[in-house]
């Protein structure tokens, strides 16, 4: 082995205290980055996942500022002929005043978002039906699924109870309609389904006087990476000048939700980088102490023929040992935490299950960065060591 590497490794590995302190500093910085990534990237991915599953699909088709008047049957059929498309389903959104009578008593009267779904198609294109915790998904024309919070606010009505909804149709007239509760959602996480109610899309079309119209078509893909292709295929088949269709990939449709979150993640990453910087300072400090305590050794080495460059390399190798052990330890801890998060199905605030991935690229990138930082942090102390004159160094007996 290169003698400078050998001496560097011996210097640091035979100083257990310094080695442990320095590599722990590096490892903890990596752990911080890893934990941040598991929680915040996991949260971000969870939100994307829920936005796809419940709200937008992989491709979300709307019409600029208007309802889709072309038959949803035609559109869904056209879309489902594309090999990448798993399923497509229409959606129609509205709002309604809701009240419920429990034991003949009026409980509440307030406005809730209403999601109109096609009971058959929606089960293929979306997993919104899986959020039903009690009872079942909407089926017949006057069935309704209440969001958990809506149900709570209404005084916990039971399956089979009825609720009365007051809509405004497209002309501004009030329309009253009575629904039978068939299901109540369990907490569905990030997209606010718990605040909404789900009904049959055809019923909604009727009450708001928009027969055959849809608010959107959500398209689920079997290959999510083909979202852009599907979007372009659709837009060229239904050119925008006549239909004024708008097709968005999930990145585009969920942009408003995700934008704020992304800057949050950027901020959190900054915290991670600050952690890295502090670990680098810890390495600088420990390396300076190391150089001071090895002054005499440096003098001996210079006396018997080591050049300044050789002394530099000794402490750079020392930094590499710190970086390597720190990165190794940090990776083990970080992956340990990731496994823990995945195995325990870690959730955010008890409701939103995090989408935990082993992001090897990011793990390796963090490791390399931590290692390189440990080496960079060693440059100044190593340079200081080279400045020791042999005769000065020898004086410290």
């Amino acid at each position: 082995m290169d003698y400078r590497a050998q001496i560097g490794i011996r210097f640091i590995t035979r100083r257990k205290g310094s080695l442990i302190a320095a590599s722990l500093a590096v490892a903890i910085a990596i752990l911080v980055v890893q934990v941040n990534s598991v929680i915040f990237q996991g949260l971000y991915d969870a939100i994307v996942r829920d936005q796809i599953n419940y709200r937008f699909g992989h491709v979300y088709i709307t019409r600029q500022e208007d309802y889709i008047t072309k038959s949803d049957f035609v559109l869904v059929n056209w879309l489902e002929r594309i090999p990448y498309v798993q399923a497509a389903a229409p959606r129609l959104d509205s709002v309604a005043q809701i009240n419920s009578t429990v034991n003949g008593q009026l409980i509440k009267d307030y406005q809730v978002p209403i999601i109109g779904v096609d009971p058959v198609l929606d089960k293929e294109a979306s997993t919104i039906f899986t959020t039903v915790g009690q009872g079942e998904f909407v089926s017949f024309r006057n069935s309704i699924v209440l969001g958990a919070l809506v149900a709570r606010d209404l005084g916990n009505p039971q399956i089979g109870d009825t609720v009365k909804l007051k809509f405004k149709d497209r002309y501004g007239n009030d329309v009253l309609k009575r629904f039978t509760i068939v299901g109540i959602t369990q907490t569905a996480g990030s997209v606010g389904l718990d605040n909404s109610a789900i009904i049959n899309i055809d019923t909604l079309r009727d009450v708001i006087e928009r027969p055959h119209e849809s608010g959107a078509i959500l398209v689920r893909l079997n290959d999510p990476s083909k979202a852009e292709d599907v979007k372009q295929l659709f837009l060229s088949a239904f050119p925008s000048n006549s239909d004024k269709f708008k097709a968005q990939t999930i990145e585009e449709s969920a942009e408003t939700t995700l934008r704020g979150f992304r800057s949050g993640i950027a901020l959190i990453n900054l915290v991670g980088y600050f952690g890295m910087m502090s670990s680098a300072f810890a390495v600088v400090t420990i390396q300076m102490m190391q150089v001071t305590s090895k002054t005499r050794e440096i003098g001996i080495m210079r006396a018997i023929g080591s050049k300044r460059k050789d002394i530099l390399l000794v402490f750079i190798f020392q930094g590499m040992v710190i970086g390597a052990i720190g990165a190794g330890l940090g990776t083990v801890l970080g992956i340990g935490y990731t496994v823990y998060a995945k195995e325990t199905h870690m959730t955010f605030q008890g409701s939103l299950p995090l989408e935990v991935h082993y992001n090897w690229a990011s793990i390796i990138q963090t490791d390399i960065m931590a290692f390189v930082l440990a080496v960079i942090a060693s440059i100044y102390p190593a340079y200081k060591a080279t400045k020791l004159e042999p005769v000065e160094a020898m004086r410290y007996a």
């Binding site: 003698y3 011996r10 080495m301 005769v391």
Partner: protein
């Protein structure tokens, strides 16, 4: 081959500047022939270590030249000085000379590693350790042996590159009298057997018995009258 292994010419060393300037060596000149055993004596603070550091190329003189093996060392740059120390000089200091994170044998062969001439070095190192009676200690870490043993290891290390001169600054200053005697006899016998040039700073003039030359320093000058020549 040059006549002299060492020529010191008009050496001055001034520490500090201006008001605080202190002249530690004043116009020193002398020569050493190959194979000689030289003692440098003088009271504490007289400039012995300063002189040895100049000869050892560990520090630069203010004026004057040090010629080792025919090479005027004042023209060498920092890297050349390092290489020169490595190949032409051996060092034995008063206090712990060794790298405590290396084993005895690793310490001994370190000059060869630095030189990049490791082939055969391990064998030579072991043989040298055998001559100084330390073959059973060679795999111990250097901080796990006694002071007397450490000095013998340092002597071995000083010899491994077959230097032109071995410099020793009070090599027995830190040893008990028995270890000191052993060390002195070892140095003298190596001088006889290997014709190795030694320059030794010491306070124990009498212990060394017959040597080739004794240089006495007083206040940074050679005391001419007391220069003994064998």
């Amino acid at each position: 081959m040059p006549d002299y292994v060492l020529e010191v010419q008009n050496l001055d060393k001034i520490y500090g500047e201006g008001e605080t300037a202190f002249s530690a060596l004043k116009n020193l000149s002398f020569t050493v022939k190959r194979g000689e055993f030289i003692l440098i004596v003088g009271s504490s603070g007289s400039g012995k270590s300063t002189l040895l550091n100049m000869i050892g190329l560990l520090d630069k003189p203010t004026r004057g030249t040090v010629i080792i093996d025919g090479v005027n060392t004042s023209v060498l740059n920092d890297n050349q000085l390092s290489s020169f120390r490595n190949s032409k000089l051996g060092f034995i200091f008063q206090f712990s000379n060794l790298l405590s994170d290396l084993t005895v044998l690793e310490n001994v062969v370190l000059p060869r590693k630095i030189q990049g001439t490791m082939s055969g070095a391990m064998e030579e190192g072991k043989n040298l350790l055998k001559t100084v009676g330390l073959e059973d200690q060679m795999n111990k870490f250097a901080n796990k042996i006694s002071g007397g043993q450490a000095q013998r290891v340092a002597i071995t290390r000083a010899l491994i590159n077959k230097p032109a001169i071995v410099l020793a600054d009070e090599p027995t200053g830190n040893l008990d009298s028995v270890s000191a005697e052993t060390t002195i006899q070892l140095l003298k016998s190596l001088n006889r057997k290997l014709h190795q040039t030694f320059i030794v700073v010491t306070h124990d003039r009498p212990q060394f018995g017959d040597v080739d030359k004794v240089i006495t320093i007083k206040d940074g000058r050679i005391v001419e009258g007391e220069l003994e020549v064998a």
